[in-house]
């Protein structure tokens, strides 16, 4: 086990019942080097200040609860290793989301956007369960597998400059999820999803900065998905307007 060292953990605090604006509070935390920032927050909660509020659960980067800004970057608290930082670490709630309290943000906007893209299989053909599975080869699975890995942690929204400027923007994770189903060989719902994502607030709002893919802890590459959606939507447009005799 690595030796202990002390860090200064500077945490944004905000309690809507007592604070008119957010403030910072610094805790001295004795850390083991293999700890993650979430361990340091848990140390504070257990030993120094039970009033600190934040979300977390799995501690293995799969539940997506513990996204925070750590030294200004969107990170999962359970995958931000103390040894990668100096002795002063600043933790703030995810950028671009309203603060509920301390590190807890209001996430309804993201949830609504995710739901709006119809992120479920709209089967090409109806088939009873008794008829068995829809065949899907490993190669067909590979076409969309990467986009299924999104844990809805919202780091990409915190990193996206466009979402910060234009709150109506559907954003990286929601569009990637639409793309995931569009690419699934079992699915026939692309036209329905295009109505939502091939709009001004949809994919065309993206300015392709690529920050979403850089911060994604699961390497989903939402920026890549958005570019593919843009290309496909452009082809749709040409087909519709210049070659109306060709079916999409």
């Amino acid at each position: 086990m690595s030796e202990e060292r002390q860090i200064q953990l500077e945490v944004l605090r905000y309690n809507p019942e007592t604070d008119s604006q957010p403030r910072y509070q610094t805790y001295t935390v004795p850390c083991v080097n293999e700890w993650v920032v979430l361990d340091a927050l848990n140390y504070v909660k257990e030993n120094l200040d039970p009033t600190l509020s934040y979300r977390w659960s799995c501690h293995m980067a799969v539940c997506g609860s513990c996204g925070y800004m750590i030294n200004g970057e969107p990170k999962l608290g359970c995958k931000a290793f103390i040894h990668e930082y100096g002795d002063h670490i600043r933790v703030e709630p995810l950028a671009n989301f309203p603060i509920e309290r301390d590190l807890v943000t209001v996430v309804e906007d993201f949830i609504a956007k995710l739901a709006s893209v119809k992120p479920y299989l709209i089967p090409k053909e109806d088939k009873p369960i008794s008829a068995g599975e829809f065949k899907q080869t490993p190669a067909e699975l590979k076409k969309f597998k990467q986009y299924t890995l999104c844990i809805n942690c919202m780091l990409c929204y915190a990193a996206c400059p466009q979402y910060g400027l234009v709150p109506e923007f559907l954003g990286p994770a929601a569009i990637s999820m639409a793309h995931r189903y569009n690419q699934d060989s079992r699915d026939g719902g692309r036209d329905q999803r295009q109505e939502v994502i091939a709009t001004d607030e949809g994919v065309w709002e993206c300015s392709f900065v690529g920050a979403c893919s850089e911060v994604c802890p699961k390497h989903v590459d939402p920026a890549g998905a958005l570019q593919q959606v843009k290309v496909a939507s452009t082809i749709d447009w040409y087909k519709e307007h210049l070659m109306p005799w060709v079916k999409k």
């Binding site: 257990e46 509020s53 997506g64 739901a115 829809f134």
Partner: protein, 586 residues
């Protein structure tokens, strides 16, 4: 207090809760469904399940084989009528998920692939790489978005059930965002709120696994069944308890001690099988209870490897090669590299057994119904019981689906059964009492106990006295200590007095749930004077079918330890026999 009227209220939005919600919405679009969870659905701990879900699909398999593996794996404590229902429904449910888009791993011909798992005689575990639970949860959550009748109450913490006229008619829940308590008035209530692994300090379970659903039913008079059976998963990362799936061994990983010996052969699971060619139901593919117990013996013999995080054995996967590890076990590799700074492609990984799953839970029958009319339960919080004394890996994900749906169907039968009108003033009075109980927590300014302090003592007590091997003396100590902690809990002081997102209050309530569950574990274990499955007594080393082929039922008492009763196990076709995991004899 705001009253929210609904037909069916579901507590918990993980695999079982979501499956129930979808089944309700599909059965009747006019049903009002309230899906209540203390976290957003995709945060539920179903997401952490890795290996896969069992269901008979391949031509070399049969329902009988799945039945035998499950009942024998459970050391004959399973109710066999429940197991029969379960294995029959399992393939349909897994196929249903396929039709909903679950990205199951595939064979080259496009059919669903299956992998070997511990204690299973035939390969029958459907998997989505090593993120099976994650994909099941997200597939269900995303599918649930299709149904407008599923009204979600995300980040609501269930406080108390409302039971009047002999039936469950709703619950109170705390809206975490506002700190307000709401009354849900429902004709049927389904609890699907997960396990209680956080009673122990070293566990694969996430922070949210605090037994709230179990305690909710328990306090309302429903017995907790077989709580003494707590499963240790044999392969957890030693520094933080992160799970490395049984799929590691299913794919061919081996377990060795400090001398490089595959020690499982010394505990009735030999002879040794060729490295990289796993043989079903023997050696590394033995059941979890046996593997975890073998570790304990190796540690006693001094055969384990000392690490900064305690004694370990080694999980060696190097012979699988980088390609297979990346394809079949990508999460495992990522977890080892990230959290232990060790690469399974290049080096053996130190592991040790870790608390993983509660076989016990809310007493239900095979229709997922509790003894209280109108109250149903499914998933880890429930005990049907298909898992008996030791759950087989990959049965729990399937259980969420099969009994999640079953609970929904039973909930519909109940609300169509000609219920009399509710006595609204009586329900409101109960809701008010529930609110007063929470308010009182805020007023105990003279309290001297802290959440963190009591929780630490509880965890320590459970680890020291109710672990892989137990004795009557230690369990008695655990009973006394947990009873003491329950008493001291009444003297708890909250530091945080605010309403909005008060996690100090949440943790206090969760601690209360865990203490109640922990006492049922300790008392049930002390009184079960035999060794069976995951419950191993050093002072009663043999299985005792004469006296204990029975389920333990623990009944809640507000101040005293639970009253214990016993219920016969349902045997339909498999008489208790010897659990044989020695491949050589076949």
């Amino acid at each position: 207090m705001e009253i929210i009227k609904t037909d069916v209220a579901i507590v918990g939005a993980g695999g079982a809760g979501l499956r129930a919600a979808i089944a309700l919405a599909e059965a009747d679009p006019k049903l009002r469904i309230a899906l209540i969870s203390k976290v957003y659905p995709m945060r539920s701990h179903t997401c952490a399940a890795e290996g896969g879900a069992a269901g008979v699909i391949k031509s070399d398999d049969s329902l009988d084989l799945h039945f035998n593996d499950t009942v024998g794996g459970g050391d004959w404590l399973c109710d066999q009528n429940a197991v029969e229902y379960f294995i029959n429904e399992a393939p349909k449910e897994l196929m249903q998920l396929e039709h909903w888009g679950c990205p199951w791993s595939r064979e080259p011909d496009g059919s669903v692939a299956v992998r070997p798992f511990g204690g299973m005689k035939i390969k029958r575990t459907w998997f989505a790489a090593d993120k099976s639970g994650f994909h099941i949860l997200h597939t269900l959550f995303q599918t649930s978005l299709k149904y407008p009748s599923i009204q979600r109450f995300d980040e609501y913490y269930a406080i108390d059930l409302l039971v009047d006229d002999g039936r469950c008619q709703g619950l109170t829940a705390l809206e975490i965002r506002s700190g307000e308590i709401k009354q849900f008035q429902a004709k049927s209530v389904i609890i699907a709120a997960g396990g209680a692994g956080k009673m122990f300090p070293f566990t694969t379970n996430g922070a949210i696994k605090t037994g709230d659903g179990m305690a909710l039913a328990y306090r309302a008079g429903v017995p907790l069944k077989d709580m003494e059976f707590v499963q240790y998963h044999p392969t957890g990362l030693p520094n933080n308890g992160i799970l490395l799936t049984e799929g590691c061994r299913g794919e061919g990983g081996i377990l060795v001690n400090k001398d490089g010996r595959r020690y499982l052969q010394d505990y009735g699971m030999g002879p040794e099988t060729p490295v990289g060619q796993p043989v079903l139901k023997t050696m590394e593919l033995g059941p979890r209870d046996r593997l975890s117990q073998s570790f304990w013996h190796e540690q006693r013999k001094g055969n384990t490897v000392s690490t900064p995080w305690g004694e370990c054995v080694l999980l060696d996967m190097r012979h699988l090669g980088e390609k297979k590890i990346n394809e079949r076990l990508p999460l495992v590799r990522d977890l080892c590299v990230s959290y232990l700074n060790m690469d399974p492609v290049k080096e053996p990984i130190p592991i040790r057994p870790v608390v993983h799953y509660c076989m016990g839970g809310i007493h239900t029958d095979i229709k997922a119904a509790t003894p209280v009319p109108g109250l149903f339960a499914a998933g880890e919080c429930a005990c049907v019981s298909i898992n008996g004394a030791n759950r087989l890996g990959s049965n729990s994900l399937t259980e969420l689906l099969v009994f999640g749906r079953r609970a929904a169907l039973s909930a519909i039968e109940h609300l169509q059964s000609g219920l009399s009108a509710s006595n609204d003033p009586a329900l409101s009075a109960q809701a008010k009492a529930s609110e007063d109980r929470i308010r009182a927590l805020f007023d105990q300014s003279a309290g001297t106990e802290t959440v963190a302090g009591l929780r630490k003592e509880m965890m320590h007590t459970m680890e020291e006295n109710a672990g892989i091997y137990r004795t009557g003396e230690e369990l008695q100590r655990a009973c006394e200590k947990i009873a003491e902690l329950r008493g001291r809990y009444a003297n708890l002081a909250l530091t945080d007095k605010s309403k909005v997102f008060n996690t100090d209050l949440m943790q206090a309530l969760e601690l209360g749930s865990m203490l109640e569950c922990a006492e049922a574990v300790a008392v049930g274990a002390r009184d079960r004077k035999e060794s069976r499955g995951a419950h191993q007594r050093l002072d009663f080393t043999a299985r005792d079918d004469q006296n204990f082929l029975k389920h333990t039922l623990a009944y809640y008492h507000p101040k005293e330890p639970p009253r214990i009763e016993y219920l016969d196990v349902v045997i339909t076709k498999s008489q208790p026999g010897v659990r044989d995991y020695s491949g050589a004899k076949k």
